[in-house]
């Protein structure tokens, strides 16, 4: 009955060496106020100078979402007072942002949908206020003040929490793939605010609430779901939704109104007179375009085409450059069907990474080794079960796959002649069961397989074994 309308504003911290308007370092975790220069501290008389890399990164982002890049872009002052904002204004962009009118496609439950990106602009980050360090006082650390951000504003095109998460993840993978941000939500380099409203389908947009402080993909879903319920309750009982800013509380899993900040603030935007219009030429844009890495969507299509991968698998493998690199490295020495290699990586390697809380880039087994392991399965040298055990051991130790196979004498018995001998010996020992099988008790095949496995300590190649058993049983 109710349609959810969601727009997302994502603040992405750019991975530049220095800040947006000063040469201060941008490293995370430095001691308080040791990365705040006279410019970041808004000392009297200081002036901003724009970081070239930040503009380049913004252009890279714009190109990767099919957006228009401004040929002239202006920085504006957004005026308000807060202790983490030393100048009493933030240098941001208002009219003429660097990027406008982009779009990207998301895939939810097998359906493709295009989400519009209204604009993306550069702005400086604020410092940090810490409220629980000193009694009765708030502590201000301005290390972060001035760090470059790109604010990405979507059209209110999303209609469900799932779509919102898919969009968020897509943007996340793009900025990481481009190398313009590490996208670390816990450290605050990828922050999401959600504008949520509900309406009866066909009617105009309802009043929206802005939800802040969403710092994980999981919380996005929770926050949206809670908020939609909340608004639904209000409207169904005849009330009206207030236009307000709310904070998401992950402990209580709810949103609540923000107490301070929003008292009818008039930001009085005007072009910053200390900065001149940024000119961006077609030549500059094409140089950047040529140097763009392969984006997730393009990569996905290529994976499907080149490796005949299933759509969903291609989607996951192309979503991060580390994972796609790992996968493609493995394909280089693969002798099996690539889809099987993909399956193996997706279930086993990713599984181990998740279990040990590691990123794929920290995997302790190399793509070459994984390919080898998968090749052995295909050759019949080892079984899937054995492969999983070898992988487990290789993950913990520093031994190679071949070393482990040799050491544990794991090698699968795939030689049909060898297996024929073993099978014949076994069948001779169980004449009754053989007779029963021939009389129709097909289920006894399992018994025979089990016995052979016991006899060979699990090393018999199940496929070959089956073939041999059937041949003998039918033949003899």
């Amino acid at each position: 009955m109710w349609e959810t309308v969601i727009g997302l504003e994502i603040h992405v911290q750019l991975a530049t060496n220095s800040k947006l308007f000063s040469s201060s370092p941008t490293n995370f975790g430095a001691e308080q106020n040791t990365q705040a220069s006279v410019i970041d501290l808004a000392m009297p008389g200081v002036l901003p100078v724009l970081n070239r890399k930040a503009i380049d990164m913004a252009i890279m982002f714009g190109l990767s979402v099919d957006a228009k890049i401004a040929d002239k872009s202006i920085f504006a002052r957004k005026n308000y007072f807060y202790p983490d904002l030393p100048k009493g204004y933030q240098i941001s962009q208002y009219e003429l942002p660097v990027v406008q009118d982009g779009k990207l496609s998301i895939n939810v439950d097998g359906n493709e949908k295009i989400i519009g990106i209204t604009r993306a602009h550069l702005e400086e980050d604020a410092g940090k206020s810490i409220h629980d360090l000193f009694d009765g006082e708030s502590a201000i650390d301005l290390n972060r003040a001035g760090t470059p951000l790109i604010e990405i504003v979507s059209e209110p095109d999303m209609r469900s929490a799932k779509e919102a998460v898919a969009y968020l993840k897509k943007i996340h993978s793009i900025v990481r793939c481009l190398g313009i941000s590490d996208g670390n939500m816990e450290e605050g380099s990828f922050r999401c605010d959600a504008n949520i409203s509900i309406r009866k389908p066909g009617e105009k947009f309802g009043t929206r609430a802005e939800i802040k402080n969403i710092n994980s993909f999981k919380f996005v879903e929770s926050a949206i779901n809670y908020e939609v319920d909340r608004q639904q309750d209000i409207l169904e009982s005849g009330g009206t939704v207030d236009q307000e800013t709310r904070l998401f509380d992950p402990k209580k899993n709810e949103t609540r109104p923000m107490r301070s900040k929003e008292e009818a603030n008039d930001y009085r935007y005007f072009p910053d007179p200390d900065l001149l219009p940024v000119s961006i030429t077609e030549d500059e844009i094409s140089v950047i375009k040529k140097s763009l890495p392969e984006l997730p969507d393009i990569k996905k299509e290529r994976f499907i085409k080149e490796y005949s991968l299933k759509n969903d698998d291609a989607e996951i493998l192309s979503s991060s450059s580390e994972l796609s690199d790992y996968f493609e490295q493995a394909t280089k020495t693969s002798t099996s069907e690539i889809q099987l290699l993909a399956n193996f990586i997706l279930s086993e390697v990713i599984g181990l990474c998740n279990k040990n809380n590691l990123d794929i880039s920290q995997a302790t087994v190399s793509p070459k080794e994984i390919a080898k392991l998968n090749n052995y399965i295909g050759d019949g040298k080892i079984s899937m079960k054995q492969a999983k055990e070898i992988l487990s051991e290789a993950w913990e130790s520093s031994m190679s796959v071949d070393q482990i196979i040799k050491k544990n004498n794991i090698e699968q018995i795939s030689d049909p002649d060898l297996l024929t001998n073993v099978v014949k010996k076994l069948l001779e020992m169980h004449p009754k069961e053989v007779q029963d099988y021939k009389n129709g008790k097909e289920k006894l095949m399992g018994f025979f397989v089990g016995q052979i496995m016991k006899e060979t300590q699990g090393k018999a190649n199940p496929k070959i074994l089956n073939q041999v058993l059937i041949k003998i049983l039918k033949g003899v």
Binding site: S18, E31, N33, A36, L50, P83, S260, L276
Partner: protein, 93 residues
């Protein structure tokens, strides 16, 4: 200029004007607004607002970080800091 507007302006600019000065201030502001109101009649149709006197583009700085920050010098006024943090009365969120 009415008190409500003055209140809004003092809120936005974080100033506090004592009651006794409000009348004089209001009068002064009215006179100033009258003076600047003269631009209203200026023939500016089709004119571009001049944000800068000179027609140049923003110079760009190479992305190199400098390690020349001296917190001690910057925090010369120790009455405003504790352990290197700036401190203000506690903010309730």
């Amino acid at each position: 200029m009415d008190k409500k507007t003055i209140d809004k302006l003092t809120f936005l600019s974080k100033l506090s004007i004592p009651e006794s000065d409000i009348d004089e201030l209001s009068k002064n502001l009215d006179n100033i607004l009258k003076l600047i109101g003269e631009i209203d009649a200026a023939p500016t149709d089709g004119m571009i607002p001049m944000a800068h006197p000179l027609d140049f583009s923003q110079p760009l700085r190479d992305d190199v970080s400098k390690k020349d920050i001296n917190r001690k010098e910057n925090q010369h006024d120790l009455s405003k800091t504790k352990d290197g943090y700036y401190t203000v009365p506690k903010i309730l969120d």
